[in-house]
Amino acid sequence: MKVFVTGMGALTSLGTDVESTFQGLRDGRTGVRAFPEWKQHNGLHSLLGAPVGEYSVAHLPRQTRRAMSRMSEMASLATFQALEQAALSKENLNSPRVLLILGSTSGSPETLETYFKKIIERGGPEGQVSTSFFKTMNHSVAANVAAALEFNGALLSPSCACATSTQAVILGWELIKAGLYDVVVAGGADELHYMSAGVFDIVQAASRGYNDKPDEASRPFDQKRDGLVVSEGAGVVVLESEAHAQARGAHRLAEIKGGAYQCDASHMTQSSATTMASVMRLSLERAGVKAEEVDYLNAHATGTVHGDAEEAKAIQNVFQNTVPVSSLKGHFGHSLAACGTVELICSIKMMEHGLLIPNRNLAIVDPECSGIDLLKAPRQTPVKTVVSNNFAFGGMNTCLVFAQK
């Protein structure tokens, strides 16, 4: 049973839909900007972020919007975009053969802050509005998207930080392959907050040296990289079994060939090249694809000193120097739970256009990241098969393999 992508939706720091996002990539733009106002937060050194531009959810009923934080709003819009492209209506989803899998790193950090601040100030739940918890609960994105769709079917909400949406896609692929569902709507979202940067800043993984040069911050694989820049956004795809897509004449955008998720339990923040290579090998095996058949590798590489070097070593180990590699974090920043599906979607656009987007801000390749074909300029070439990595805190290593339809 083959599994196809038949719809895509995204909101990123480069645009509020797939086309504007991809155009931003083609133009080599960055969504990163300075946040000098974050100076007020004691102990925060990284004053950079990549926010999503203006969007509207005014078309949703108030009682749907009231439980949504930004991450749920963006996820809902991305889902509507994906369903529109797939030519699936809300009514089409009312089937026990349809599954929604959507997640985020945590509940809304902005609401978590106000929620607990009030609890501490008032010594209890006094003064809490009823909808606060619905923005803070772990499955807030999934529940809110379901509400926006008036969806009464199967709903899952995986959460593994930066690998969340990749895991959602792989899970969807597995469950369709297993014959349990015909359609899976999969994705993830996260919203920008100073503590999203703070989480990485605490472990010295966030960029600190480019606060006054945001355009140059977020430099995957570059010798002068100094950490990631936190971002926000949403990415959602519609996955569909071959039989279901064929029966309704759906337009296929790409085929999900396979994927895998594995844990590196050796360290909470520092996955090793060995386990990264392991998940790539397992993904290729499950996809039935040989390393030499891969035309492009979309790296997770967030611009951290340790992570990029380990991923480069892992790629070298599996592919040697045969596959062009780029990370899109230099353009978007790191959109956490959204990045997996956003990068899947952007890679599918690269396949469509036969155009590989290069690493942004890669001036001098760090010797620790050498030995692989790191893209420094756009490359026009046929792209049939792609591998995409995403790694997360907690040793959550994921890898996805997909190909032209």
Partner: protein, 87 residues
């Protein structure tokens, strides 16, 4: 009905402003006889409405009375009673 005494018009206006801004209700629908259900408010909205009123007037409303609220007049009366007690 919780309290039949006339309610201060300025308090009514402030509550109407809260209802309009908090629940996106068109001002012309905010008449004393309007049923909360007809205004599109459900049980979660009723909880939030009391929180808004408490924060706005710095009062504490008895939550047990929430279920007895039917119309906007009931809300005016409940708020007026709480304001009066707080003085």
């Amino acid at each position: 009905m919780l309290n039949q005494d006339p309610v201060d018009p300025s308090l009514i206006q402030q509550i109407n402003d809260l209802m309009a801004s908090g629940f996106e209700i068109p001002p012309e629908k905010l008449v004393p006889s309007a049923a909360l259900k007809e205004l599109g408010l459900d049980s979660l909205d009723a909880v939030d409405m009391l929180v808004y009123i408490e924060d706005k007037f710095g009062i504490k409303v008895e939550g047990e009375k929430l279920t007895s609220l039917r119309t906007l007049q009931d809300v005016y009366n409940l708020a007026a009673e709480a304001v009066s007690k707080s003085k």
